[in-house]
Structures are given as structure tokens and as C-alpha cells.
Amino acid sequence: MGTLLEAAGVTKHFPVRLGAMGFSRATVRAVDGISFTIGAGTTLGLVGESGCGKTTTSKMILGLERPTSGAIRFDGQDVLRLDRAGRRHYRRNIQAVFQDPYASLDPRMRVGTIVAEPLVINTDLHERARRDRVAELLDLVGLPERAASLYPHEFSGGQRQRIAIARALALAPKLVVLDEPVSALDVSIRAQILNLLKDLQRRLGVSYLFIAHDLAAVAHMSHTIAVMYLGKIVEWGDAESVALHPKHPYTKALFAAALPIDVDTPRDDVPVTGEIPSPLAPPSGCRFHPRCPLAMPHCATREPAPRAESGRLVACHLY
């Protein structure tokens, strides 16, 4: 299995104005030099709390934000240096499914039109061929063919998410960004959608970038997991070992706070104290040190570099 997408030292800084008059300026280091790869046909799970840079990372991959520095390589080509045709080719291969299927589908368009829209924009298929492709896609996500003539409001949340998935797959992309694809859905529906996504990956060989708060769902869906904290990747490696045997103190805290539905193993150690610092003024040295139960004096001054540790990368002075 080759590498489909590679991010190398990707950084995104946003300039902001502060104060009532906006005279003082500052920089939000939303994403600060992160590197990872996504293998063809595999899923990378991206986890972390609000403000850690997950969404900014996904936007840069989708081409909605331009990195301040660093490189994103897709199929070996630097995405930021593509010409017009190359960019169009790239966009066709990267699609997205968002959290809220009530917001992501136009209420005034029929489902058939919604699913066909990427085909209209990106291909020169004729009406007839488009209709066949739409029927094929609806079948793929488990909706009846007649769904094409209905409007989004006639569907439940889970079915709407299926429509959004069908639209994302219309151009047979190589990578789909799934940004919290099940958190807006009812608990009993989530398993249906997660199963569908896994099944589609097996059948189509598509790669996923899976972003979610529900760590058990991420662990279930992903081959590798990257844990972000304040714009940095603190741990990245095989999904099972990261989830079950986390190394970085933050990963440990995060997975300890994930509340297993398990009544036998009470893990009542308090994971972390304190609040998530503002990305406007991230702590010096290791960004986690003010909340870390194992912090050492030099954690406050020296930033830890990612180091290979039992088959994964960990950015922590302990290793």
C-alpha cells in the first residue's frame, strides 16, 4: 500500500486583531509544523480538543486554506505548486462529508440534483449517464432509486448523511475528509453510518481522514491515529496501540477521559487539571506542560521533537 497523501511540516498562522479598536495584532498558530501520511485505502483518525487545529488541517487538505509553510503531497505531487489543470484534478480526488446533514444539503434541490452536482461541474457526462451514475451512487449508500426525486426534508438525519456520502463519492475520489460524520446523528443510527463508511472503503479502496470527538469511534474506524494538541501532533501511530497503550501524557489523559461503557474497570485517576490554553499565547516549550502531571523543569523551556517510540512517533521529553 503506497502513500496517498503526505503532509510535511505544514503550518497555518492566522493574523488577528485584538482589542476593541483592533489596533494590536497577534498571530494564532492554528497548525504548527505537523507531518503525517495517509496510506491508500486506509483511514487516518485525527483527534484532539477544540482549538487543536483539526479543522484547519482538514481545510488545508481540502484546499480551502493555504498553508503558511510546509508541503502537502498528493500522489507524490506538491499540491501547492499545481497548475490549474492539476488543481482541478486534485479537487476531484478530495471530497468531504460534514457534521450536520441538515446544513450541508440544499433544501431546495432534489436529492438527484444534489448528488449529480459534482458530475455537472467536473465531468462532461450526459444527462442520461449522470442519472445512471446517481442511481448507482444511491444504491451504493443504501437508498432506493426513487430517493433522487425527493427533497432533503423528506429524509431522516441518517438518510441525509447517506445522501451527503453519495455526493462525496460521485467523482470516485481517492480521499474523503469525514469531519464528525456521525456526531449529529442519533445514537442508534451512528453504527449504521460507520458500518456503511467501512464497507465503502473495503469496496472502493477510498482513503479517509476521520475527524471526531468520539474516541472509540475513531479507534474503530482508523488504521492510524494522530493526536493533536494546540496545533501540534503529540502522538501518531497505529490506531490500536495509540488507543490502548498511549504513550504521550496528553493521549493518556484524553483516552482516560473517553468514558468507556464499561462498568467493571473504573479508571478514576483524574487525567488532567486546568483548561486548554488559548492558541493565541501557547505555553513555551512543550505546549502541554502546564497541564501535564509528569512535567519536568525542562518541559517548560525546550520543545520536544517527535521521536520514534514503540512503533509510533511521540513528541514528549519522557521518551
Binding site: 453504527a191 474503530h220 483548561e275 486548554i276
Partner: protein, 346 residues
């Protein structure tokens, strides 16, 4: 549960009058919560969790919602017979609520101190310095540092976790007898959620609060609750001790729900999904509301709604699979302990 329950709800029914007819949002719910005990209320959207909570404090949205039957006994007094004036003195003082979004409980244009002093003054009759000190001590109780300075802050100057802690401080100001927490941590980050759940437990132990915890997160139930009531389409389909229900769920819905959730370390390719969609309360089937999605549904389930069956003193469910007559197939065994409804043979 030998002590008298703080709150005892019997056969509560709240209906919503809508264009599509009358919707039974809460359809005959009974439970009780003792001092120091936490009851989890779980279910999907539309299952009636929040409507149950609002009915308890008689704040279900009027004029559409009407509580048409049942009793809500708080320390032995029926809240449904109280006047609106009396209810106003009960809300906050005896029954406090923490809602999902702290900004819907806090006023953005007043400082935290202004907002905290108001309930504290009315519960304790304090004024001036004593009042400010009491408000500050409440903030200290929810682990907000420099509480006297924080009283001068406005909600927008605080993080989500801190705002929710302020709401928690106001909730325990009286302190109340019953605390209703309606998805209090849904808007918080994981590590902050963990801290807040620990805080709620601490406050509960301190004040011996009876607590109703509404959530759809079964992990939170496992951590926080002593007993759990699983709701589906306005009814409690299963109620009992958390350990008991998580280990041997009786109702097919509970079983399916527990099986459908991904678990860390469980190496499953596929999750066991529940077929179908959550029910539409306006067009409920005549029998058991879960029957259309239930893998074990029988003829009878589609015709007749199951009554509550007690499996033991603490564990009960509404499912024909557990009704005495349905077990084993022997119609009436010796002793005839569980009198099965005899008119059921249709």
C-alpha cells in the same frame, strides 16, 4: 433504597397538542430518586428525556405541552397541585437544573456576581458583604480560582467549562433537594467534561443531592449513575441498576443500543447496527413502539403495547419477551405469580 425517595414520579403523562394531532411526549413514566442517588435518563432525541425533566418543574412549553396525568411527589408533596407562585419558590430552591448550553442559563449583559447574588439573596436573605462572600464561596466550591475577582467578570470572559461551573455554583446555591442535569457536558471538551463530571459528583456527595442525569452517552451513565432508565418513544422501556442493565440488558432496545456502540479494544470489523429509524411520535404503531426495529418482535408486539414487567425488586422492563405468559410458553404455571393479562390472546 430504604430511605424515602426525594422525588417520586408516578405515571407522568405530558402531551403536546400540535397540528398533526396530540403527541404523547411523556407517556406514563414512573421512577423515584433517593437522597444521594443518581438516576440516568437515556434515550435518543424525541424519546422524551428533556420533556420529562421540564414536566418535573412544570416548565414544559405552554400552551402546546400539558401534563395531563400522574403525580410528582417531591418530599411527599405533589408538585402538580401547586400554584404557579408556589412553583416559583420551589424552582431553584428545591429543584435546580443545569442545561446543556451555559449561555442559555447566563445573562450576557450582567456580571457573574450580579447573577449569582440574586438567587443567593432570595434563598438565604443575605445582603451586602455577607451576600458577596456567600456568592464567592459558591464559586470556590466549584473550583474557580480567585472567586472574588471572578464575580466581576462577564460570561463572555470565561471559557465554556468555567461558565458551566458558574451554572453549577448557582444550582447548588440553596442547596436544592433535587438536581436535574440535562446533558450538562455535551458542549464541553473531553478533558473538561471529565473534570465537570467529577465536580458534579463531589457536589452531590457534599449536599446529599438526588440527581437526575439526562444524557445519550452511555459512558457517562457508566461513570455517573447508580440506576438508569432507558427511554424510547415517551416511555421507560427498562429501568434498573446500571451494572445490572449494562451486564444483562433485558429489553431488545437496550441490548441493541449497548451492542451498537464502538468500544476501545474490541476488535470488531462491523458494529451491530440497529435497523430502521427512530420513531415518529405522531405516527406511532399500536403495539410496542420499538417493534418495527426489533429483531425479536412477534405478532403480539405489533398489536398490543407491553405493560411493565418486574424482573426483580430493582429491575423492570416493558417487553413481551419478559411478560410472565410469554416465557417458556407454559400458559399459567403453578402458583400463578405473575398474573398475565388474559385478554391478550387476540
Amino acid at each position: 433504597m430504604s430511605a424515602r425517595p426525594v422525588v417520586d414520579v408516578r405515571d407522568l403523562q405530558t402531551h403536546l397538542v400540535t397540528r398533526w394531532g396530540t403527541i404523547k411526549a411523556v407517556d406514563g413514566i414512573s421512577f423515584s430518586v433517593a437522597e444521594g442517588e443518581t438516576l440516568g435518563l437515556v434515550g435518543e432525541s424525541g424519546s422524551g428525556k428533556s420533556m420529562t425533566c421540564l414536566s418535573l418543574v412544570r416548565l414544559a412549553p405552554r400552551p402546546a405541552a400539558r401534563t395531563v396525568g400522574g403525580r410528582i411527589l417531591l418530599d411527599g408533596e405533589d408538585l402538580l397541585t401547586k400554584s404557579e407562585r408556589e412553583m416559583q419558590r420551589i424552582r431553584g430552591k428545591k429543584v435546580a437544573m443545569i442545561l446543556q448550553d451555559p449561555m442559555s442559563s447566563l445573562n450576557p449583559v450582567f456580571s457573574v456576581g450580579m447573577q449569582m447574588r440574586e438567587p443567593v439573596a432570595s434563598y438565604h436573605g443575605l445582603r451586602g458583604r455577607a451576600l458577596t462572600e456567600r456568592a464567592a464561596s459558591l464559586l470556590a466550591a466549584v473550583h474557580i480560582s480567585a472567586p472574588l475577582q471572578r464575580l466581576r467578570s462577564f460570561p463572555h470572559q470565561m471559557s465554556g467549562g468555567m461558565r458551566q461551573r458558574v451554572v453549577g455554583a448557582m444550582a447548588i446555591a440553596a442547596p436544592p433537594r433535587l438536581l436535574i442535569a440535562d446533558e450538562p457536558t455535551t458542549s464541553l471538551d473531553l478533558t473538561i467534561q471529565w473534570q465537570y463530571l467529577n465536580l458534579l459528583k463531589e457536589l452531590q456527595t457534599q449536599h446529599r443531592l438526588a440527581m437526575i442525569f439526562v444524557t445519550h452517552n452511555l459512558g457517562i451513565v457508566a461513570k455517573m449513575c447508580d440506576r438508569v432508565a432507558v427511554m424510547y418513544a415517551g416511555r421507560i422501556v427498562e429501568i434498573g441498576p446500571v451494572r445490572r442493565i449494562f451486564k444483562s440488558p433485558a429489553h431488545p432496545y437496550t441490548r441493541a443500543l449497548l451492542a451498537s456502540i464502538p468500544r476501545l479494544g474490541a476488535r470488531a470489523e462491523q458494529l451491530t447496527a440497529i435497523d430502521g429509524q427512530p420513531p415518529d411520535l405522531a405516527t406511532l404503531p399500536p403495539g410496542c413502539a420499538f417493534a418495527p426495529r426489533c429483531a425479536e418482535a412477534r405478532e403480539r408486539c405489533r398489536i398490543e403495547a407491553p405493560a411493565e414487567t418486574r424482573l426483580d425488586e430493582t429491575h423492570a422492563t416493558r417487553c413481551w419477551l419478559h411478560a410472565p405468559a410469554a416465557r417458556s410458553g407454559a400458559p399459567q404455571d403453578a402458583g400463578g405469580a405473575g398474573a398475565a393479562p388474559s385478554e391478550a390472546r387476540l
